[in-house]
Amino acid sequence: MASFVIRRLIAAFFVLLAATFLMYMLVALSGDPLEELRQGNAPNKEQLMDSLSARLNLDVPPYLRYFLWLGGVSQCFVGQCDFGVNVQGLPVLTLLEQAMGSTLQLVTSAQIIAIIVGLIVGITTALRQYSGYDYTITFASFLFFSLPVFWVAVLLKQYIAIGFNNWLADPVIGIPVIIVISVVSGLLWMSFLGGAAKRRLITLGVATASTAVMLTYFELTNWFSTPNVGIVGVVVTAIAAALGITAISVGLANKHAVRGALVTAAVGIALYYPMIYFVFPGMGMPLFLALALGAVVGGGAIGYFFGGRDRWQSARTSAIGAVIALEGFLMYWDAYFNSSRITGRPIATIGSSTPNLGGNFWIQGIDTFTHLLLPTIAIILISFASLTRYTRASMLEVMNQDYIRTARSKGLTQRTVVVRHALRNALIPISTVIALDIGALIGGAVITETVFGWSGMGQLFLGGLHDIDPNPVMAFFVVTGLLAVVFNLVADLLYASLDPRIRVS
């Protein structure tokens, strides 16, 4: 094992070395960095050109300049990285740190949501193979796979942001729209849950009716102008989350688990008013994280106390903590919505935050959310497609195995067969796909970042390319290349450790 890792790392080191050289030459030879100055008519043209040449060592031929760059970067091994300076003379290392932070903020939540949604949709399509739902999702994932992200981004800006903002000025849904949305959601739930004709009809009816009731409630209470969850919302969501998560993870037949989950939900509900009035106004990031951790630990403790065979499932129901936090964000929605920088148009189309906004933790949180919304949707659309296909294929493969038939013939419930026997094995190949995806994350959002004016890794890369300045481009490449190599290795090791049939050698 150790020798496998070491051999792989040594090979990767030389591969990266060669790739950086190739990359450096490609960038350096792609044009003339002085051309803009040469063609300009600044009076001190000569002087500017000389200073730029001196700053970027342009008098050294590229194949030797590469070694200058390499010398600077290799100082990373002694803790003094030197990625050189860009055209403006700013140290690239500082730019790189900012860009990485910004890009991580953009892609992390998007990737997590894409993984969750992709897994759920992939599993359900595999379970409903050759149904209308399966065909619809298959077509949708092919469509998403073929979407040019820059094109989708403009559509999102137009319809989600500008359209939604316009609509918010006078948020009226209207009865025909309510009917259409309700029926569509009913049909979605019906094809999603499947079953025999009678069950399908019941699902259709229940889903349509409940969606209609919810929308009417929103409409009547003018919810979209003054969004809030309220104590009723918290109670309903908490109990539904408790029961739903228990049903999927251990099944409702496990009385201990159900009791533990419900008690956790009750504690969360009891904490609602104290939290709203005493804790939330002074909220900051450390406190927020501490509370989230506290919710998880508390939920776990309750679940453990109530015992049963699965002591840990109760911790999973602490998702209700998130509902209370959501209320915090919604409480300040008004303040955000009407602030002078926003002026009633909350969904942002560009940038990563509203300049000079001010406000407390919640307002800043809302601001980040409204800026993240569109790029996140764009990223999800793209990565959702391939994840769904992989999950579906892997799940189908597993569901056709003999041991699944054995599990069924033992009389296990559908839930146990799918979640315990099939899903865990289906996740093995998917885990490597996800590992590779994460490796490609930082460098993969260049176009999305550009379209949404997000100053991250993409800007670093494209800016350097535009200026024919290898230093920023190489900083981008060192990070993405390293991540790709490392996560390739992680994927291999993960596969070997999860699947006992595979041995690394």
């Binding site: 591969v15 060669a18 094109w151």
Partner: protein, 353 residues
């Protein structure tokens, strides 16, 4: 095994001996490999529809505004050149109306005009031409190089294999967008064909790995030994014996490579790193017109729709080819097919009684 599968999928209808195996066997008995593949491909509805649509798009793009490259100029049947600026009709709103009634028909500018009067139909057709050409060139060059490198590495193994594969690793480590941006910046000004060929020079890596894998396993098979014993040269073994056996893998990934290529090219052109103005491509049109979305949305819709249609159809064709070439592929018969088979068997049983 396959009986179990169908039993698992459709427990109520199953019951007797396997329906699926018999249906599958009946479908393929006495057919050549090519016939089986063709038959399976034409059973994939999405792929067949996609092929028809793609053919239509390609014909439309190449006949409408004609062929103009390498100094050759063949005019098409469409009246406007993509650079001509006829006077604005109806302030540039698309004249196409497919709703029966007054104004039904294509009109002089079916896709509308931009602010200076350029005909968007001609422009989009020209863009589609360039994008399709780049896609095909990337596919051809990438596939050719990938097959060559993969075949050499997989067939000869040893030090050459190790070197070639490390070289592949070097290229694969660099994201395609990065290579595309650098290449596009360097040669984008020379026009679409040159750009396509240069992009293809870097697009072979995935294919090379696949082909190498195929060759590594196929070269150990008996038919290769037989060919070698009967005195076939390496060249003959590679091209006449092993390559035809890995053609399925190659065709499928070449198709998917092309679908990726058109998205990559349009993205590069959108970033001003691919095809350079005055030459045009679908990505360039979107890029030039994204600001006009609020006032002239048709400038933006049509090139995007063509990108999606081309990428989607190529993806579907690739999927159909994958299904067709996969020897392990057992298409589970739909409940309808199963019911039909059951009914047929019941009829046969009654008849024989």
């Amino acid at each position: 095994m396959s009986e179990l599968n169908s039993a698992l999928q459709d427990p109520p209808q199953g019951g007797g001996p396997s329906d699926e195996t018999t249906i599958e066997q009946r479908q393929t008995v006495g057919l050549s490999q090519g016939q089986i593949v063709r038959k399976r491909f034409f059973h994939h509805k999405g792929a067949v529809v996609s092929m028809v649509v793609l053919t239509f798009v390609v014909l439309l793009a190449y006949t409408s505004v004609g062929l103009h490259m390498f100094g050759i100029s063949i005019p098409g049947w469409w009246q406007w050149h993509w650079n001509a600026t006829p006077p604005l009709v109806n302030s540039g709103v698309p004249t196409m109306s497919l709703i029966p009634g007054p104004g039904f028909g294509f009109g002089p500018h079916p896709f509308g005009q931009d602010q200076i009067g350029k005909d968007i139909f001609a422009l989009v057709m020209r863009g589609a031409q360039q994008s399709i050409m780049i896609m095909v060139l990337v596919g051809l060059v990438g596939t050719g190089l990938g097959v060559l490198i993969g075949a050499l590495a997989g067939f000869y193994r040893g030090i050459g294999d190790a070197l070639l594969m490390r070289f592949t690793d070097v290229i694969i480590t660099i994201p395609f967008l990065v290579i595309g941006a650098v290449v596009g910046r360097a040669v984008g000004g020379f026009g679409a064909p040159v750009l396509g060929m240069f992009l293809g020079l870097f697009a072979w890596t995935g294919l090379a790995r696949l082909v190498r894998g195929e060759f590594l396993s196929l070269r150990e098979r008996e038919f290769v030994d037989a060919a070698r014993v009967s005195g076939a040269s390496d060249k003959r073994i590679i091209f006449k014996h092993i390559l035809p056996n890995s053609v399925g893998v190659i065709i499928v990934s070449a198709t998917l490579l092309m679908a990726g290529a058109i998205l990559a090219e349009t993205a590069l052109s959108f970033l001003n790193l691919g095809v350079q103005s005055p030459d045009t491509s679908l990505g360039v049109i979107v890029s030039q017109n994204q600001a006009a979305f609020a006032t002239r949305p048709w400038l933006f819709w049509w090139p995007g729709v063509f990108i999606i249609v081309i990428a989607l159809t190529v993806n579907f064709i690739g999927d159909g080819l994958r299904d067709a070439f996969d020897p392990r592929q057992k298409k589970m018969p739909s409940p309808k097919a199963l019911a039909k088979a059951l009914a047929r068997r019941a009829r046969d049983a009654r008849a024989s009684k």
